[in-house]
Symmetry: D3
Subunit: 61 residues, 6 copies
Amino acid sequence: MPLVQVSWWKGAGTDQRRQLVEEVTETVARIAKCPEAAVTVIVNDVETDHWGRGGTLASEL
Amino acid sequence: MPLVQVSWWKGAGTDQRRQLVEEVTETVARIAKCPEAAVTVIVNDVETDHWGRGGTLASEL
Amino acid sequence: MPLVQVSWWKGAGTDQRRQLVEEVTETVARIAKCPEAAVTVIVNDVETDHWGRGGTLASEL
Amino acid sequence: MPLVQVSWWKGAGTDQRRQLVEEVTETVARIAKCPEAAVTVIVNDVETDHWGRGGTLASEL
Amino acid sequence: MPLVQVSWWKGAGTDQRRQLVEEVTETVARIAKCPEAAVTVIVNDVETDHWGRGGTLASEL
Amino acid sequence: MPLVQVSWWKGAGTDQRRQLVEEVTETVARIAKCPEAAVTVIVNDVETDHWGRGGTLASEL
């Protein structure tokens, strides 16, 4: 049942998301001692002009 | 005041979202014993290649 | 696969949460045209002194 | 370390987001007594036909 | 309608949360050009042993 | 900058959370090609009577 929500800057391609989902699922299932089938991962690509860090938009860093 | 955030696979049209908002609002307001006007529903369409289940992207299931 | 996250003011008991989960699951599965088994609902009880509305803590409304 | 996630109706431009990030970061850092560099703000633009209020899509209010 | 969700380390008292809600609501309403009454702020206190930064629990930094 | 939010059933101890944070941070940083210092992980323990699956509270499965 673990639910993993990843927010990161837009730019990753399908290969990176596939790898992320595979590896994070393996890790979380092992540590949570649950079947991998029970793990959900949702990836949220955020535009850098929608992400602020230290008061500045990431697109302007 | 209840806040309902629904994440599902992209694909639903406006009619489905309208029905979702209507019915979920009615249900939640009745159970929370609050006015329907106090309920917010936010619908988050997620691309299937951004959703992992059991370690696999939903687009590749 | 739909994921429903409900945030509301703390105070509901198990009976209300059970009813919420049952009814919201039925509604969402019907509208999303997916099996009920695929629906996850997470209920987040928020203390009223952690919830602001119109600039005021709900505990002080 | 504070994390601020803002969901609002789509429509704001970069200037509004920049101002939001600047001012919210200043406010939160001051109240949390942490450096501004530690504050993350993520802005989530939601289409009005994905936002329900009182059982009605915001696009149809 | 803006919804602001703030996650930070547990430790703030009611006075800090009240101030956070007041000031963030004022800022967001002004920038979004909406009434303050339309702004919701939810504060999520996270224990430092549930928050990781750079691979380390914040409680062990 | 990646932000990882993990929701799972309450029950894990500090050792499991430490391991989760370490391993997920390593994985995400490697795939996102960013420094580990830029990764935040927030762990949300959910009581099983606040988690619904297939219309049933997890505490009653």
